[in-house]
Amino acid sequence: MNHIPMRMIASPAVRPAKPTRRALAKQRTREKVLASARQLFTERGYEGATIRDIAKAAGMSTGAVFASFADKTELFDEILGNDYALLAEAMTDASESAATAHKALTDMFAVAYRFHMDQLPLLQAGIATSWTRTEAGEKRNREALKPVMKLLSDALRGGVERGELSQRADLRLIAGVIWDVYLANYRRAVFDGWSADDLTSRLSDQIALILAGAKA
């Protein structure tokens, strides 16, 4: 018999917690800080935005900021993490109906380029920190990127299954180079004023080149 004894249902361990007023207030603080931080990181880059300025912009004390975030890196990483979660969803939709690996990859990165071009300085700051991240920060970043990386490898695996790419292709190597090239292209936007469409077109050609090295 599967019935749960009444006393267990009534005990606090099983009853779903109701968000307290305190918890809600804390959540609101968090959101305010994240919003101000995003704006300042976008305006001034990672180094230029201080916790003090972020707290001020959010209308609270630095203590209140530190109650929710251990340090600036954690705050920055959460913003990037939120963006990647959104991006992964959009990229999934874009690549779902693609007939080839090349199309799937081009379409998903087209979404990424459009997404980030709206907040290019923030993206720049994110890339700039990839050379100075701590081990903990690196771990967080890898976690945040997992869904996007999975999309990338799924698209390549689809290519192998459909006979476009060799069974012996090193998918991890290919994914790595494609990701490197995707990021590196942003420099064209920064220095040469390229649009999202320009970047996508370039990346599409580069993906074709890279996949040619793994043709079935």
């Binding site: 976008t42 001034r44 880059g45 180094e47 230029g48 290019l120 300085p121 720049q124 700051a125 890339i127 700039a128 920190t129 990839s130 050379w131 100075t132 991240r133 081990e135 690196e138 090193d170 190597l173 290919i174 790595g176 180079v177 990701w179 490197d180 090239v181 990021l183 590196a184 292209n185 420099r187 920064v190 220095f191 370039r202 050609d205 580069q206 074709a208 080149l209 890279i210 996949l211 040619a212 090295g213 793994a214 043709k215």
Partner: protein
């Protein structure tokens, strides 16, 4: 050269030497202009008569290193043998070997090139015409040798190679990987890219 000019040149050299050492020893972000001035034995004020900011100092440090690297490349590159992949591997191996001697400088340089607040006078990483030219020349030779198909977009290949080259430095940043490890990673990437550049037999349909 007048006394004033000579003094300014001497200050510049001392500042750059001090900065190069400190950026390498303790890191770029951790180094202050004051610390650089102290190490160079000059006043902070005199640093700022020659350089506009710490970022400007970094960009000058990197600009000064270019000649030394070019010399090393010039010594080796004309004598390289083998296919295009082998030559490219050797070329990038020299770059990695050179930069990994003071890897923190390179990491700071490439990070700075992405900073939203970039100095207008900086030559950002990846825009050195001589280095880019060397790679293009190798690819052109590859076409002549029959390694590389004649319709290949060499500029595209160059960008792809440069992207892989740069991003391998993350291994140095995050895992303390040395020049050997970075070169090994690059070798595999080069093999993949060059494989895709092979001339196709007549009648082959596809990119």
């Amino acid at each position: 050269m007048g006394v004033r000019k000579a003094q300014k040149a001497a200050t510049r050299d001392r500042v750059l030497g001090a900065a190069r050492d400190l950026f390498h020893e303790i890191g770029y972000e951790e180094t202050t202009v004051r610390a650089v001035a102290e190490r160079a034995g000059v006043s902070v004020g005199s640093v700022f008569t020659t350089f506009s900011s710490k970022a400007d100092i970094l960009s000058q440090v990197m600009a000064d290193r270019v000649d030394a690297l070019q010399e090393e490349l010039a010594r080796v590159v004309p004598y390289l043998r083998g296919g295009t992949a082998d030559r490219l591997c050797s070329l990038f191996a020299i770059h990695y070997d050179f930069e990994c001697r003071r890897v923190k400088l390179f990491l700071a340089h490439i990070a700075a090139s992405f900073s939203p607040s970039l100095e207008p006078t900086t030559v950002p990483y990846g825009r050195n015409a001589v280095f880019r030219g060397m790679i293009i020349d190798m690819l052109v030779d590859g076409v002549a040798r029959g390694d590389v198909r004649p319709d290949a977009d060499l500029d595209l290949v160059l960008d792809t190679l440069m992207a892989a080259y740069a991003w391998n430095y993350r291994l140095a940043a995050q895992q303390g990987a040395d020049a050997t490890a970075l070169t090994a990673a690059m070798d595999r990437q080069i093999q993949l890219i060059v494989e895709g550049l092979k001339p196709r037999p007549a009648g082959y349909g596809g990119i």
